[in-house]
Symmetry: C2
Subunit: 206 residues, 2 copies
């Protein structure tokens, strides 16, 4: 019997570095499944449908939500973003691991709908470091940066809802730690109990 | 803040190889705490009190049991065996990991009294291999061997009570897997949540 894949949910406050770790994991695990989100916002220059996002109309996304077709979704500044359920479930059934990099609210929605996932909370080594990372990124307006910093402390409190907490001091080291968690999770009794059936049924008859 | 140590409980049917793995772990982790059991049986030649066992009278052990001083105990062929609670708890409080190699009934008693432990079930790759290992060991009488084999299938069913199941095909590899589990368990949210407090309180005031 082939075990199902792991759903690895990487989350944490913005600036914690989950995007960098996610990219490093995908480089190290080229076969890992990666969920493409749906969105109703307009494509930005260079964004490709089915690669960066599945671009949908508001009507289409509302239909998916009503049918339970999204593992999680959010409305942000008037646009919908969500994770398509079927795509992720098919990969897991095939025995393929899937990684999801997602904000805290999204991760908590997924945990309710799919508690078998492995929920990893990435945290910065300090609030000063978090602040410095968000400023360096430079893609957000001053106003957005201030909002994000203000919510960071509140967001950190959600760590207790997760299975694991990994401090992202050096991204390579944090990535190795996530890989260690993924390996250990494969030995979890709930995931490997099928081995017991295999052992008990493979005995040669005397 | 220094985190508490991990209590690693290695268990499984006899012949699964938990003793070998336990010894390999102790070689790789010379600082790991190892619990010395109490027993009421007479010392065998070469056994040293406080090293192999704490040799006690039946009265002494009964007093310990009544006072909740044993994490688990069993009466086997008229002799008591048990794991002293205080010794293990002191090591964990000091931040030291402790390993316990123990039979299934003992492990399940410990799980009730100390659910924060990490419970690893070691299984043989097949029942044929289990049978061959018990015979090769040659320390048991034919009668005892037959009893052990007969109970092996039943014992394997307890795997679902554990946190992890590790197949011991090659002992070195199985030992590495246990080390991976120990590392991952250090990142468990329940064990590392103190980091969140540290992050939130170490911010320099502007």
């Amino acid at each position: 019997m082939k075990p199902k894949g792991l759903l690895l949910v990487l989350s944490g406050p913005s600036g914690a570095g989950k995007g960098t770790i996610c990219q490093m994991l995908r480089n190290k695990l080229p076969d890992i499944g990666y969920s493409v989100s749906v969105t109703t916002r307009a494509p930005r220059e260079g964004e490709v449908d089915g690669v960066n996002y599945f671009f949908k109309t508001v009507e289409e996304v509302k239909t998916m939500i009503a049918a339970g077709g999204l593992l999680e979704y959010a409305e942000v500044y008037g646009n919908y973003y969500g994770t398509p359920r079927d795509y992720v479930m098919e990969l897991l059934e095939q025995g393929k691991d899937v990684i999801l990099e997602i904000d805290i609210q999204g991760a908590l929605q997924i945990k309710k709908r799919f508690p078998d996932g492995v929920f990893v909370f990435i945290v910065p080594p300090s609030l000063d470091e978090l602040s410095s990372r968000i400023y360096k990124r430079g893609t957000d307006s001053e106003e957005v940066i201030k909002k994000r910093l203000a919510s960071a402390t509140g967001e950190l409190a959600y760590a207790s809802e997760y299975d694991y907490i990994i401090v992202n001091d050096i991204a390579e080291k944090a990535t190795e730690k996530v890989l260690t968690v993924m390996e250990a999770e494969r030995y979890r009794a709930a995931r490997t109990y099928f081995i017991i059936d295999e052992i008990c049924h493979c005995r040669k008859e005397d």
